[in-house]
Amino acid sequence: MKKLMNSPDAFVDEMLAGLVAAHPSLVHEGRVVCRAGGARKGKVGIVSGGGAGHLPLFTGYVGEGLLDACAVGDVFAGPSVDSCVQAIHTADGERGVLRLYGNYGGDRMNFDLAGEMVEMDGIKTTTVLGTDDIASAAPEEGTRRRGVAGIIYAYKIAGAKAETGADLAEVTATAQAAVDAARTIGVALSPCQIPGAAKATFEIGPDEIEMGMGIHGEPGIWRDKLRSADDVADEMVRRLLADPVASPSGRVSVLVNSLGATPLEELFIVYRRVAALLKKEGLTIVRPLVGHYVTSMEMAGLSISLIHLDAEREKLLAAPCACPFWRV
């Protein structure tokens, strides 16, 4: 796995430098990226973050109607506590800050510590954890699930809610409800490599696929010979629909997301089947997304995310937003 880079140590900082150079709506200071205009006074702030290597996640979703700031660490390693503190400060518009990020042990420790630190500065914070990966734990253990691509729905919905002037408790509740309504499952076809690492994050045979693998190579549900796109899509959709949600409305949005190397051609082949399956189940698809939204660098594979929409979520999903990688 070749990389166009200068040195593993400079990978993340040079990537952030390029990101903000290409997108003047973003600025960065160290490992924190925020809106060029800074925090908007009177709006609840939303911060996210985690390990680098998942672009457009996290930093690409900073913008109007989405996130206010992100803290990123090295590739696949959490942001430092200081970066988390800094991100929260940057996002603070004096109405409190929601920490909205994926459920990973290291990230949680750092954001929690940061939360306590900023509280001493008088900033009120709350936490909502992305827990959409249905392959990472059973439904009964929902809070142990990892957060993967589905979190971008929570960004969009909570971000739109915050723009309405809602208070911290409301934004937090809306974000939590969005996470609770989102489900994701992924398949991996080839690994990626952490810059500077001696070998790939995992090994997989030239004709194998792994169902349910996580975005850092966390083991999935099964590994077997590659199957047809329709067979793979069928199983993924079946698993997503079998996972219980509180009150399904019959309206969903769906995200068919490349983990990196899998091209748009294959995403559309899969989306075609997903759309047909959901239709057959009587579900209406609203604002589907197909593309590179949450990646693991050059990993091949894709994930399918489903979010069940109530009237409020559907409205918030349709609200205007503008960041380098998503615009409504």
Partner: protein, 201 residues
């Protein structure tokens, strides 16, 4: 003789040198069940700590607080954050103190262990750095002098590594490797034992 800010300054320098020496060994240990970065992370972290320790401060709590600050900006790795937690815990517990008795060390380590568990969610027996801190905390609890602490701690650290080697890792990245971790040292435990050996030399 008791523990003073000067004791910490000397310890920090020894820890920094030990971390540099152990870098490759720890990377290799982590490479077998994780992402192979424990050594490099720890070297950088203790370089930052050694550089951040105030030269003339006598308040032990403030010395630890400076260490905590250095850690907080240095790393986002799990172990790095746990070291930050340890420093913050010690800072809070020793704020305003100019010296600490060697008999207090067991209690301090126990609260470090508790805070790490509260933050990181590890349980005793998961085969993490928490287990070795727990074992050493218990072992030095009855000790009254530096000599007693050093002897008990070094022996207990070795014994704990040996005792856990043939058990599987149950937490974090290493958990994914399941029974393949049997026969291997946990990199966090190994790191603690190397630092301890240097500081308690």
């Amino acid at each position: 003789m008791s523990i003073t800010a000067n004791t910490l300054r000397h310890a920090a320098l020894r820890a920094r040198d030990a971390a540099a020496l152990a870098q490759d060994e720890l990377n290799a240990a982590d490479g077998r069940m994780g992402d192979g970065d424990t050594g490099v992370m720890l070297r950088r972290l203790f370089e930052a700590i050694a550089a951040a320790i105030p030269a003339r401060e006598n308040d032990i709590g403030l010395v630890f607080q400076a260490c905590a600050k250095a850690c907080a900006s240095g790393t986002g790795s799990s172990l790095g954050t746990l070291v930050t937690v340890a420093m913050m815990t010690l800072a809070k517990a020793t704020k305003g103190r100019g010296e600490i008795g060697w008999d207090e060390l067991g209690g301090l380590l126990a609260s470090v262990r508790d805070q790490m568990m509260a933050r990181g969610g590890a349980k005793l027996g998961d085969k993490t750095i928490v287990d070795i801190i727990d074992a050493v905390a218990v072992a030095v609890m009855p000790c009254r002098t530096r000599e007693e602490v050093v002897a008990a701690a070094r022996k207990e650290a070795r014994d704990t590594l040996d005792a856990y080697r043939d058990r599987p890792n149950k937490l974090g990245r290493a958990r994914m490797f399941g029974d393949k971790t049997v026969g291997l040292d946990d990199p966090g435990m190994l790191a603690f034992s190397r630092l301890l050996a240097a500081v308690a030399a």
